[in-house]
Structures are given as structure tokens and as C-alpha cells.
């Protein structure tokens, strides 16, 4: 029968979110149940509510940057107790036995279960964090550091790990290295903060000059290059060890490849729907690489959150009430947010009769 839950769901691909009563499973022996305090709005939520990737089933309760306080733990849970501050990101399950799972990379498990819109082991569909309570297997729960404000820390659970994982995996985390961050949105601004905390030199690459002051004076980037300005691109050629590319719109890779030093790495974390043009010559003549990355494993996510705690890294957020969510989605579509909306769930998501 499950426990009552209340949230906001999209009922069709118009993407409009509206009140939704549903139930979550009872707290199983390995489950952690928590009251949701805040949930970040990720651009993926927008893609999913509108079925832009063709995999959405309705009703869809989005949200995979979820933080809250534990209210109940199952009998076999060892690492968490009532009252703990916890979070859940993009994953709530995986097979546990494949090569990826064995290496702590549940995110690449072919049977990984995403926090919303996916079929769980009990054949129910998972519902995400735009809701009042969450229940999740202990293995996918993240402990949130005491010193971080939970609202601003919520986006770390997707945006944070999405940029942290490739910086580490591709060896772009050595002090003194110079990395570029393309796009200054939810992912990009967090990438700048982590990179600076890793003692890297950071250049932000953007299509317009409007965020230059922000990037340098507030976020701490070392330099700013407007990608449409030929001279700025030319002056920055062959200076970067790596680039974290957060842009999901169609765009040209050629100038970005030019900014890399030989052997440099262009990491795609944004996922344009249509294929991009790949100029092969920079790869062949300068041994450059283009790679992709998607969130991170659970162990890695915990490591990232712990680092954020140590260095006081949080997202720049606009806290909104639950009834603002549809307006927020419209603004998100136009990239009109500095840099993540976070829903004040506990205070503003109230069940309607």
C-alpha cells in the first residue's frame, strides 16, 4: 500500500507541473526515508517533463538534487540514523554486480535506475524530489556536510558531481593546470568553484561578454573568453590542459579544440541532441581528445560533497516556492537564472485537498 506522498508532476509533454498525490513504498530494511527540505531544478528536469529525449512516462515527478532530514531507517541500515542530513542525486539503484558497479561507477551500470521516471525493482515507477518525502536504498544516500547550507548544497548532487567526476578521472585536477569552462550556467558556475578549490587556473568561455564581471569578480575565474571574438580565441589558443564543456545546444567544437594544448582533453558534460561536427585534424595532428562524462558513482559523489564541505562550495541559487515552479521552468528555458533554482519544498509544498 505504501506511504502517502505529495508532489508536483508533469502529466503530459506540455511540461506543466501540477499537484499530484501518490504513494511511496514502505521503508524497507535497507531503506532510508527522509523529509525533503529542498530540491534543485536541473535542466534535465525540463528536458524530461517535455519528453525531449523521448523516454518520459507520465505522470512524472522530477527532481534529482534532493536534500532533507532522515525520519526513518530500515532495520539493516548501518550508516544513517533519524535526524541525519542527507541527499539523493540522480541514481537510486543499480545491478551491483557488473564491472561498472564493482568499480563504484553505478552511473555507468546498464541497469542503473534513475531517481525519477524509471522502473524500480518492485516494478513501480520512481518519483523524484519535487515531493514531500523520499525513500531510498542506503547505498544511494549521500551524507550532507553539517557546515553547508542545505538549499545551496542541493545542486551539488547533480551539477556538482557532473563536473567533479571528469576533472578527477581525466587528471585535470593537478594544481597549476589550466582548464576552460564553456557555458556559465548550473554546471559551469559549479565547475569554476571546484576548479578553483583544486588550485587550477580557470578560463570561462562564453558566447557573450555579459557574464565576464560575474565570472571573474564573483566566481573567481582567472580569465574570460568570448567564443565569438576571433581575437580573444586566437590569444587563448593552445593554453588549456582541459575543457569542461557544459553546453547542450548545437555549437562548433573547432575553436574549443584550438584552445587546448597538444594532448588536451575536451570533456562533454552537456549533451546536444544532434551530432556535432568533429574536426578530426586537431585530434590527429595534436593528439587531442573529446570525451564524455555523466554524473558519477556514489562513492565519488560522497567524496565530492565532502570536498565541497571542506572548501565551502555551494551553488548560487534562487530559492523559489513550489507554486513558482512553472514560471521557473519558463525562465530556465531562457537560461534566465543565476544559476540554479531550488524549490523550498518543506516550507512551500503543501498538499492540496
Amino acid at each position: 500500500m505504501g506511504k502517502e506522498a505529495f508532489g508536483l508532476a508533469a502529466k503530459n509533454n506540455s511540461g506543466v507541473l501540477s499537484p499530484f498525490h501518490f504513494s511511496r513504498r514502505e521503508t524497507g530494511e535497507k531503506d532510508v526515508r527522509f523529509k525533503v527540505l529542498f530540491c534543485g531544478i536541473c535542466h534535465s528536469d525540463l528536458h524530461m517533463i517535455k519528453n525531449e529525449w523521448g523516454i518520459s512516462t507520465y505522470p512524472l515527478v522530477p527532481g534529482h538534487e534532493i536534500v532533507g532530514v532522515v525520519t526513518e531507517v530500515g532495520s539493516k541500515v548501518t550508516r544513517f540514523k533519524t535526524g541525519d542530513k542527507v541527499g539523493v542525486g540522480c541514481l537510486v539503484g543499480s545491478c551491483g554486480s557488473c564491472d561498472s558497479c564493482t568499480e563504484g561507477l553505478e552511473n555507468y551500470c546498464p541497469k542503473s535506475i534513475q531517481t525519477y521516471g524509471f522502473k524500480y525493482y518492485d516494478d513501480t515507477i520512481t518519483y523524484g524530489g519535487y515531493s514531500d518525502n523520499m525513500v531510498c536504498d542506503e547505498g544511494f544516500i549521500i551524507r550532507m556536510p553539517d557546515n553547508l547550507p542545505l538549499d545551496a548544497a542541493a545542486p551539488l548532487l547533480c551539477a556538482g558531481i557532473t563536473v567533479y567526476s571528469p576533472l578527477k578521472y581525466h587528471g585535470l585536477d593537478k594544481p597549476g593546470m589550466h582548464i576552460g569552462v564553456v557555458g556559465l550556467g548550473g554546471l559551469g558556475h559549479v565547475a569554476v568553484k571546484f576548479a578553483k578549490a583544486m588550485s587550477l587556473k580557470v578560463t570561462v568561455i562564453s558566447t557573450s561578454d555579459s557574464k565576464r564581471d560575474e565570472a571573474i569578480n564573483r566566481l573567481g575565474a582567472d580569465a574570460f573568453v568570448v567564443s565569438r571574438d576571433q581575437k580573444q580565441i586566437k590569444d587563448a589558443m593552445r593554453t588549456l590542459d582541459g575543457i569542461i564543456n557544459t553546453v547542450s545546444a548545437t555549437h562548433s567544437l573547432l575553436p574549443l579544440l584550438g584552445l587546448l594544448k597538444p594532448k588536451g582533453k575536451l570533456v562533454m558534460v552537456g549533451a546536444p541532441e544532434k551530432p556535432l561536427e568533429l574536426p578530426v585534424m586537431p585530434l590527429i595532428f595534436e593528439r587531442k581528445m573529446v570525451m564524455g562524462s555523466m554524473i558519477g558513482g556514489i562513492k565519488e559523489t560522497q567524496e565530492m560533497v565532502d570536498m565541497a564541505g571542506k572548501h565551502n562550495i555551494t551553488a548560487d541559487i534562487e530559492l523559489i516556492s513550489a507554486d513558482y515552479v512553472n514560471t521557473a521552468m519558463e525562465r530556465l528555458e531562457k537560461a534566465d537564472v543565476r544559476y540554479r533554482f531550488v524549490i523550498d519544498v518543506a516550507n512551500t509544498l503543501k498538499p492540496t485537498p
Binding site: 546498464p110 578530426v280 585530434l283 590527429i284 595532428f285 595534436e286 593528439r287 587531442k288 581528445m289 555523466m294
Partner: protein, 358 residues
């Protein structure tokens, strides 16, 4: 320009325009300097890059061009500073004959990534000379860019190793393909590069699957070259069955083609290495990269130290190219056949026996 004297006179076959037709051409090489080795050319491989260059497919050809960068010959003269070679030694000259010797790449023995790299042909040296390649009777090269040709490696079938061999060997090492036996390598395209990649892959203990557009070369690949399996890209069921099974794919194809099926063949964390130089950019689907943490990289020949290491490795494992030996005068029809991929798998010009000074 180098002073012309009887000693410097040279003879080769050059293309004069983008028709790519090669014909006899008299020119001169520089005097043998203190650091130089003069090589009497015995054999020269015909690389697909030679064809692209003489037809100006890449847009940076300057005519007249004598191509050829898979050169094996005998040292006939060595300058007074030359320590590594003596007259009579069997030597090789590959794709590069100069670099700055002071940048980060050069200091790491990666002359092939030096921004001031000088190619063996269709290039200009710092003294202004236009460099001409190995479809000629002799070449004069700085000792740092001359390779020692190991005993036991035949001059004719060993010649293609100087470009094709190093072009596949270098990325196999750099991208970690040779670290563990039993890993699965896909070789896309079975031509000059591809057939050597199969041989070198097997010598490193890898499982090798050849990926090809048609089944024509299947028995060749398996029975003669030693590949473990053969995958035809148009067989959608077999392709599907092979999704997510390969650790690496070496893509040797330079014609326009889709990368999506090659990415699908890779396991999570799989690596696709592009070696072919297409005329236009390829289409890169991003989702497979992101969903599977896959990557596409490139590679260009190798440094001199690595090229020597490759030659020694091939000599040890008896790896040579499969060649069709031709006379210099047959070069134009060979180029026509190469354009249609009608060769198993490299033409090599028997230079010494067929190039004659008119």
C-alpha cells in the same frame, strides 16, 4: 637554394598539378652536411597520404611534389658529426625530417607533435628549401630523423612500417591498448594501416576484430592476418550482438563515415582513435560519449625514438606489411588502383631497380 652540382643532382617522379599524374623530374638535394646522412633509396612505400597530397585533397599542396615517406635505403655518405650511422648501413626515413628540437614535445621525444614539424615532402625547411620525398633515387636527411633498419626486417615489406606501422603502433601504446593481454581491439578498415594494426594487435596479445563495410576481406583477415573475428557494418544483427564488447577501436578509414556504430561497439570507458584524415569533419554523436564515458582521440605517426622501438618490435615479431612491389613507371596506375582501394595492402616501389635517370 642548395648549390647545384653533379653530386647533388637527383632524379624522381613528381606531380605538377592536382591531376596527381606523376612524371620524371630532375632536381637536386642539398650537399651532405656535418649532421646529414645521404641515403641511396632502395624501396619506397606508397601511402594513401601520397595520393591525397598529389591531388591536393587537403588543400595545402605546393607543386611540384615528389611524394614518398616510407623510405628504405643504404647510407652512402655520413657527415662528420654523425655517430649513429656509417656508410653501408641499412636505414629508413619516415614521415618527418625536421623539428624545432627545443619545445616540450621535442623534449619528450615527440617530434611528431612539434608545432614546427617538417614533413619529408611538400614542406619547407628553415633554410627555404622545398623538401621532396622518396619516389626518388636519393635523399639527404639529418641523422636525428634517420632510423636504423633492423636485421631481419626485409627492406621492401618493411618500408611501410615507417608510416603505416608507427601510425598504428603509437596510439596503441599511448591509449593503453597494449597494457593488458586479452583486451578487445576493433580495427575499422582493412587497408594499409588496418592490416598492420591487426598484426601488431595480435603480437601484443589482444583479441582483434576487423570491422569492414563488406565481407570480401573476411577470410583474408581471419586466415591470413590472424584476426579473431570479422564484423560487417551493414549486418545490423551482428553489429547489435557486438555492441559494448570492445575496449578500443582504431578507425583507419579516411572516407566519410559515421562514428555512431563504432561508438556503439565500445564498452563503457571505451576509446575510439581516429587515424584516417577525412576531407570533411565527421559527425560526432555526443550522447554515446556522455552515457558511456567514451572518448575519441587522434594520433599522428610517432616520435623518432618510438618509431625505432616500433621497427625493433616488428623485427622481433616478424611483422611486415603485405605488399605489391611495383616499378617506378607503374606508379600512376598504382595510384588509380589505390584510389579504389584495390591493393592488398600497400604498393612499394622498387626504386633502386626501376628509377632511371633519363
Amino acid at each position: 637554394m642548395a648549390k647545384s652540382s653533379d653530386q647533388n643532382k637527383a632524379f624522381g617522379w613528381a606531380a605538377n598539378d592536382k591531376s596527381g599524374v606523376l612524371s620524371p623530374f630532375h632536381f637536386s638535394r642539398r650537399e651532405n652536411g656535418d649532421d646529414d646522412v645521404t641515403v641511396k633509396i632502395l624501396f619506397c612505400g606508397v601511402c594513401h597520404s601520397d595520393l591525397h597530397t598529389i591531388k591536393n585533397d587537403w588543400g595545402f599542396s605546393h607543386y611540384p611534389i615528389i611524394p614518398g615517406h616510407e623510405i628504405v635505403g643504404i647510407a652512402t655518405k655520413v657527415g662528420k658529426n654523425v655517430t649513429k650511422f656509417k656508410e653501408g648501413d641499412r636505414v629508413g626515413v619516415g614521415v618527418i625530417i625536421g623539428s624545432c628540437q627545443s619545445c616540450e614535445s621535442c623534449n619528450q621525444d615527440l617530434e611528431n607533435y612539434c608545432p614546427q614539424l617538417v614533413y619529408t615532402y611538400n614542406s619547407r625547411s628553415s633554410d627555404g628549401t622545398r623538401n621532396q620525398g622518396g619516389y626518388s633515387d636519393k635523399i639527404v636527411v639529418d641523422q636525428r630523423f634517420v632510423l636504423s633498419f633492423p636485421d631481419g626486417l626485409p627492406s621492401d615489406s618493411g618500408a611501410p612500417l615507417l608510416c603505416a606501422g608507427i601510425t598504428v603502433y603509437s596510439p596503441m601504446k599511448y591509449y593503453g591498448m597494449t597494457e593488458e593481454k586479452g583486451k578487445h581491439l576493433g580495427v575499422s578498415g582493412l587497408g594499409g594501416l588496418g592490416h598492420i594494426a591487426v598484426k601488431i594487435g595480435k603480437a601484443f596479445g589482444l583479441k582483434v576484430t576487423v570491422i569492414s563495410r563488406s565481407s570480401d576481406k573476411e577470410s583474408e583477415a581471419i586466415d591470413r592476418l590472424g584476426a579473431d573475428s570479422f564484423l560487417v557494418t551493414t549486418d545490423s544483427q551482428k553489429m547489435k550482438d557486438s555492441f559494448g564488447t570492445m575496449d578500443f577501436v582504431l578507425d583507419t578509414v579516411s572516407a566519410e563515415h559515421s562514428l555512431l556504430p563504432l561508438f556503439s561497439l565500445l564498452k563503457v570507458n571505451g576509446k575510439l582513435v581516429a587515424l584516417g584524415l577525412p576531407e570533411k569533419p565527421l559527425e560526432l554523436p555526443i550522447f554515446p560519449l556522455v552515457l558511456g564515458r567514451k572518448m575519441v582521440g587522434g594520433s599522428q605517426i610517432g616520435g623518432m625514438k618510438e618509431t625505432q622501438e616500433m621497427l625493433d618490435f616488428c623485427a622481433k615479431h616478424n611483422i611486415v606489411a603485405d605488399i605489391e612491389l611495383i616499378k617506378m613507371s607503374d606508379i600512376n596506375s598504382a595510384m588509380d588502383r589505390l584510389a579504389k582501394s584495390d591493393v592488398r595492402y600497400r604498393f612499394v616501389i622498387d626504386v633502386a631497380n626501376s628509377i632511371n635517370s633519363a
